[in-house]
Amino acid sequence: MYTSLLYKEWIKSRRAIWLLLAVFAGVGAYLLLATAKQYQADATAYWEFIVQNSDIQTGRMKYLPLAAGILLAIVQLTPEMHNRRLKLTLHLPLDESKTLCTILGFGMTTLAVLFTVTVAALLAGLRVYLSPEMVFADFISLLPWMLGGMAAYLTAAWICLEPVWKQRILNLLPGTCWVSFFYTGALPGAYVPFLPWLVALIVAGFFFPFYSTARFKHGVQ
């Protein structure tokens, strides 16, 4: 039965998932080509610039996971709230909490796979031109942004599932503050001590959409 629920999520979001794959692949390829071009122009000057400026090559990807998280939540959950179709989903003969876990789990897993594949491919490509230390600096810079994409997904889910427009707008404020934790400007590696806390924030954020769903169930208007 849960497989069938995953099938529903796939049908709703497959176009967006293909689009995200294409965009991530495109941006990844662009970053690799840009790195290759600068490396081939003057490798020594390029490395020197990176070291002296603590520069990272993947900076242009910063807000891409955020956009991916928001887009996926919208394509998955807006159809559920349109004409209050969530009633149909919650009326399925399944435990309602498990149903919601499955829906959110689909989105989180999709994002995790998308981010992991992109980061792995990008870092493997960068390793051709850069030292391991430079690639690691890229990796630890990308990590909070990717977690931020998941936080954005959960915030957007929290807002989408909220039945009252006024409350949606009110949710937007703490939601934005919460997501901004993941995007505070910092030097590469500055986030490392906080990574466990960022993961804890994601775990806590997983329960926000349950609150909206409970309000929907109680018929809050």
């Binding site: 069938s4 209050r84 009633k87 399944l94 109680h218 208007q221």
Partner: protein, 295 residues
């Protein structure tokens, strides 16, 4: 006699506006109950309460003995739900939606769904979002048949349908319900359609149940009486024998469950001397208007 739906003392407000006060009713197994009421009397509200999508201010509803809002997956699998406007997951096509729902229901009847689709020439690959309201209604009906639920809850099943699709929906549903001894709780704005289907009828007034009787009793016993009179004062309803007495010039009409003799006696008691009193049988729709008034 098994009770499938039981509502006890439901009171609900939207803000400070009272919708119901101490609303209580039951639906027995195998009965088809139609809920009638003017706009704003809370027909959809009671369906939302029943299915657990609205917590009332006070009171409790039970379906198959379980409290609304806490229905177990087993009980949910026995309830077929049709939302107002035949709402379905519109991103599926006709084949995908059958594949999706079939995994959830142990008694799923695939042939019932495809049989209906074939009769109505719905293209299996057509996306539900591109279908007309009539086609969507047949998808929704096919899914209800395939689910083989013991209880069908249908919210305004005739909404958006043209007369042909409405008749089709009613005929298929009637045949299915009679053959399978299903219990049905439904609402509709089109009372002629309900008349063909229902056994029992609840008429909601603002805040309470005005009447809960078998539909056959209402159409058999509730009559409209026409007469002429020079009287000027209309007797008030007061929940008594006469309902919604009206006059245009010296032509009068009133409705009542009472006999002609009783109506004549009541009119005279109220100072109205009727001349040429005639009585008419009423359709359910006319009876509804006779009971609730035109506005």
């Amino acid at each position: 006699m098994d009770t499938i739906i039981q509502c006890e003392n439901i009171t609900h407000y939207y803000g400070s506006k009272l919708i119901y006060e101490n609303l209580s009713f039951e639906v027995a197994r195998g009965r088809i109950l139609g809920l009638l009421g003017k706009n704003g009397t809370g027909k959809t509200t009671i369906i939302n309460i029943l299915t657990g999508y609205l917590r009332p201010y006070s009171g409790v509803c039970r379906i198959f003995g379980e409290e609304m809002g806490r229905l177990s997956p087993t009980v949910k699998s026995r309830i077929g739900l049709l939302l107002e406007g035949h709402i379905q997951h519109a991103y599926f096509n006709a084949v995908q939606i059958e594949r999706f729902y079939s995994r959830f229901f142990p008694k799923w009847k695939r042939d019932a769904y495809y049989g209906l689709l074939e009769k109505l020439r719905v293209t299996p690959e057509q996306k539900i979002s591109t279908m007309s309201c009539g086609q969507r209604s047949q998808i929704a009906l096919g899914l209800l048949f395939a689910q083989d639920a013991d209880l069908l809850i249908l919210d305004d099943f005739s909404m958006g349908l043209d007369p042909g699709y409405r008749r089709l929906f009613v005929e298929y549903l009637k045949e299915y319900v009679a053959a399978e001894n299903k219990t049905v709780f439904l609402t509709s704005h089109i009372i002629q359609d309900m008349e063909m289907l229902i056994d029992d009828c609840i008429i909601l007034d603002y805040g309470s149940i005005l009447l809960h009787e078998p539909a056959e009793y209402i159409t058999r016993c509730f009559r409209r009486f026409r007469f002429t009179s020079d009287a000027t004062h209309c007797p008030s309803d007061n929940g008594g024998i006469l309902r919604h007495t009206e006059k245009i010039g010296n032509r009068w009409q009133t409705c009542s469950f009472a006999t002609a003799a009783e109506v004549e006696h009541e009119l005279k008691k109220n100072g109205v001397i009727p001349d040429g009193l005639t009585e008419e049988k009423l359709s359910l729709e006319d009876a509804f208007i006779g009971l609730t008034g035109k506005y």
